[in-house]
Subunit: 412 residues, 4 copies
């Protein structure tokens, strides 16, 4: 096992926007002996995690748990509800929205990719990657589709590549205002269980999520939360599907079992995660992330560096994108910080590659974990010769000291 | 975590044919902290497991590792190589062969399902479920397809539902003798790393496997091993695919990374499993399972119960199917044994439901684990009032005492 | 860590009479991060384990927990209550009674070592090692000490070297009947939490125990349970002491802390063990061991080998001593069984070295664990050429199948 | 286990001077199944840890490993070498030196307690608690003992209560210069494996240490390293002893076993620790701690607070004592920091209670762990209204960024 252990002294600081730091309590649950997935104990586990996930999504309707990582749940959302050649309205908020769109095309659908036009004068980055979904653009496009050729609207709740969230309720309202029957499908892979999310209340038809972000598990489990309308659509959808097909899973889940072998040990960790999150209460969890995010943004502002999210109203509570000055290779900076300080930061993806890095503030963290990470970034910026307006570490200390968490270290 | 722990005294005996008992060493590896799947340490891990899996499959060609359970790898084999409407020749050896055939149909392919005809006089069970693949039947069918409408032949190496193996080299020879270009696709989900398997030498085009059997991991990882011919076919195959698509994965695996988030913690366990298996050597591992299987069969024969596999030449080293006498509900027996002795046995699936049970002798076992399991079965049979010809436990002790493992308890 | 892992396939069967098999649940607790032994969380842990241990000992008075293995708690009992030159009446029930007596001498006390006289005709073993304490002998000796020169009577509750228990209440009655003020000190290192024990009700002054038997922890923690009379004696006892001194520990324990660094991680496991045992209830735990012991004795009797304990009324529920026929070296037999079947049995100690071996039936076991162990012993006996009257394995199966545990596998 | 888990979000920062943060790798080793302490695998483990500990102490002579916490090893050093009434010269460097002296008295020895006289004008603290051992004082006292009534000189290598080290070679030289035959006994409980230590080269007769500091284990194991002269003394020493007696342990250790039950699972962790430390090399380990200590001292100096150690030449690489301004209760400050930032700091002990706190920089740390801790302290100082000269966090970042570790994050 020695080859698996890369950190001879001290724990690695994993401040990427997922996989998030896994609580020891979940790692211990993960290592429980595997049981018979058709035995009596398993049914109790199955029912417990299915019901807990309904609470996390905020839904009364079925949640499907896949023994597969998050990308699979994107595919599941599409192939269960759509038919080859169907038009899908997608919205470019960043790299993951782009990948989902690319996947739709690959699966034989016809995505149309909306984006806020223009380029940011200050940073040269596409404006669409610095803002959330513009629901008005979506409404406008749907009104121009009186024949209802568009079968689904797909948006990302929390863009992991940029640190920008989107107002999902506004998208729903725009669809409704346009009187359009398209399904609303939302990727909340990195949002769920860190940022407020309400599948039923917001009128989402399919929510897509994964295990390795707010749920704090290792990767390997993903989710679809369904609406009755999505279930109805799935009965007529023409895309070929077997592994991802909702029908047999939803049917068999009534008894706590799965039609094929589920991911038993990750379900142990999921059960433990649900215990932990639901005992603390989701509002407390969301508040914790908002507080951390504000502290991190205070640091970035003190350094004088642009935050990738240009709209303060939709800055992500999960991660913060930091734009490096022209001429500073963000990936070289990340490599330096990793080598010197055993700290992992998220890379810039796609159109912002090399231009920004991402600080994750999700998962098993607390104030001092983030102070450690910010110290590592500040030392790295200085070592890389980046001119700083001031000390972000000092600003973050001011923030954390000045804003006590409502209920002590637990709320961190 | 208390709700996850169901065995107040002593360890549960998990003698189902998978998930297999996971070595503590792997459970510990599983619980290592999750790392950045795009960081430098990850590439070393990725390369190590990819290369180790090539050794286990016996191939020089790419192995694809999916962050998904085994059923997904079935789908991957089909959608990467075939086009909607393609004819596929499949062979009914039991329940899992039947499920794969059902999946092919669901994915828009046209499977033809060959089977050895007839019913066993003694047990009333279908003969096809008590024997391995009849390669001659396959050769005959292919010769009747001069237009090469059949694009692939799909067989199961070790039928987990029956405990019968099949001669894969003979299937290859039959295809070749027929001069037919069909691809050979083999499900060795429960065979790999317990029973001898040689992807390249046997001329297999796509081998399908999973983590929770001979590799002794929890479920959640699955595999496709490819041939150059399969890779070539994948370039023209018309089935829609994204998550399962080989192209991007094989390309990105060259650097030790994956195009989407891999199953990091299960890869830790896989790395540990490969260390363990390759250090012991696969021939020693195969011999160990053959020895256990012989001991278990000696017990079943002493009880006077039929072994599901009617052909001694192809009895599985992985599991043994035991047929219960008419009137004895095998599942009621299993439930009694589970309740009284904390021992899980495999259920009869599909056409043999209630008529047989399965004893797994794979994964992290030794002679005494199997003696424990056989004791539990013998006590259960007596409590259920099943008349026994003799003591299977005694026969197994004779076998294990009389046949020392080549190298001590390690080979156990 | 590879060098620490000696069992390449399957779990080792640890059926020695301690250290006992540790439940996975305790091993996981053991691996929780160490905390500040002077911080607020520690006090809660300290109070919880101290109170739980009072329940296990059956006492309202202080229990002292040492961060040291069991031998230390023997020393603590003596040096806290006695003065150099004090006479102590000890009773030879086996090897551990002899070692305690040797320790008393080494510490400057003057032990007198009572024993049932004579040698067993059938086995040639000392009778004293095949029977429990003869309380009448003790009463007689005390009546011959009108000047009360004897300051303490020391007996072993469950002789780990022989598998014989002693009637502690009878010893108390004998002391009282003699009107003698000597303290009663009892070694229940291997008895506690497996066999019925009642510190207060039986009038014990100092009970000595350890972690690695009925409490199912690894070794490293030991205990003294005190009576008010013992505490009073400790105020005037003249033996030098510091580490073992009760005074500061008992005082500081009121707040949940210790005067020096306690064994934090073993206390985690102790807390978990107490949760487990007290939730199941001690009577259920004792019944479980009695049932296992009866099954093991049925096996030994079927083999036709003498049980070390010659008095059925006091056979230990914790372990069974098995006498090998003349000419059969019990240690060579144990080595053979270890090598062939990865099963550890207890060696014969002191006067019975090479003449017997011990089967532990304590700790984290269940019926099938014991069937595994008995199978290993039976195969080993046959391989060693020991003539057997019949199959012990068969007899044990008859016993376990015929005597269901009151509440399913939990009660094992 | 839920009651054992006190940190709902993020890992606790345990920056007390021991128990130190335990590497996950050791926690995993700790949770390996317990084995037979009289079986063949155990001997290999025993020999490995005994030999590794000789390397860590820098000795060719026996090391005794006790299954007991560090206070026990103090007692062992005294009772194995001395007789009741023997005079012992001890030196007051702080609280632990005082406790050892108190223990000597309790064990019937006659300690004489030397100390540097006087009180620090600036802080009001005893000078003896701000400086290391004054070897000249010892030499002077020994020269005044021509009759060699003094049998041993006892000093503390690294005073855990103050953060001051002492020059052991100088003490040896002073004894030799005085031509005095007294034994030299050294407490290096918190020094060993973090600070340079050389048992043989420095002429130490008995070195005392424990597991929960530089070795990074949980508490529960302690050590005596012996010299031939100490062994010779032990043959005639008159203190009563049994558990602590070297003779049987040293004799039996030759075969890798112990005369009584050793602390098996902590020995697993010790084996893993030795692998880790000796692979990295002790010089690299010592350099790592010196670098951390310098960074922490830079922070304290920037705050304008006095460092407890008044002599820069002997500041501890293990911990730094920080004196709070008059009127600031150091324990109230610690409590605030614990509550707000989930960070444990060491309390002021004995004569400096409430006047100082201690920052541990030992065990499983790295630069960012220390930055986290220093951030927590700085925020706490501000919240407590302590006027600070500047930012210690800034100073520490300057130090860590400006002084790269010789070999990357490994050396931290």
């Amino acid at each position: 096992m020695i080859t698996l252990d890369h950190h001879p002294s001290g724990r690695h600081f994993l401040q990427i926007p997922g996989p998030s730091p896994v609580p020891d309590r979940l790692l211990r649950a993960l290592s429980l002996p595997t049981i018979d997935h058709r035995g009596p104990e398993f049914a109790a586990l199955g029912k417990r995690v299915l019901s807990g996930m309904q609470q996390v999504f905020g839904t009364q309707h079925p949640v499907v748990i896949y023994p597969a990582s998050g990308t699979g749940a994107w595919e599941a959302a599409l192939v269960n509800t759509l038919s080859p050649g169907d038009a899908v309205l997608m919205y470019e908020t960043g790299h993951f929205a782009s990948l989902w769109q690319k996947m739709a095309r690959r699966l034989g659908l016809v995505p149309e990719f909306l984006a806020r036009p223009g380029t940011c004068a200050a940073t040269g980055l596409p404006l669409s990657w610095r803002h959330g979904v513009d629901a008005a653009l979506i409404g406008e496009r749907l009104r121009a589709d009186p024949g209802h050729r568009i079968k689904a609207v797909c948006v990302v709740h929390n863009e992991t590549s940029t640190g920008v969230t989107s107002d999902i309720a506004a998208v729903r309202a725009a669809i409704d205002a346009a009187g359009h029957p398209a399904l609303l499908m939302v990727d909340t892979i990195s949002g769920l269980a860190s940022a407020d999310y309400r599948h039923d209340e917001w009128g989402v038809d399919v929510s897509v999520s994964g295990s390795q972000k707010g749920l704090m598990l290792p990767p390997g489990i993903s989710f679809n939360a369904l609406s009755p309308k999505a279930l109805e659509a799935s009965r007529h959808a023409g895309c070929a599907k077997a592994f991802w097909a909702w029908d047999e899973i939803v049917e068999m889940n009534r008894t706590g079992y799965w039609p094929y072998t589920p991911n038993t040990n990750l379900l142990y960790a999921l059960s433990e995660s649900l215990d932990l999150l639901l005992t603390q209460g989701l509002p407390a969890v969301f508040a914790r992330h908002q507080r951390w995010a504000a502290g991190v943004r205070a640091a970035v502002q003190a350094w004088g560096l642009p935050i990738q999210c240009a709209d303060p109203a939709v800055c992500s509570p999960v991660l913060t994108g930091v734009v490096t000055p022209a001429g500073v290779d963000a990936d070289a900076l990340r490599a330096l910080i990793h080598r010197r300080f055993d700290l992992s930061l998220g890379t810039g993806l796609g159109k912002v590659k090399g231009r920004m890095f991402r600080i994750g503030h999700l998962g098993d963290c607390n104030d001092l974990t983030l102070m450690a990470a910010l110290s590592g970034v500040e030392m790295g910026l200085r070592l890389a010769g980046v001119p700083l307006a001031g000390s972000g570490v000092q600003a973050a200390m001011d923030h954390f000291a000045g804003h006590p968490a409502p209920d002590g270290p637990a709320a961190g």
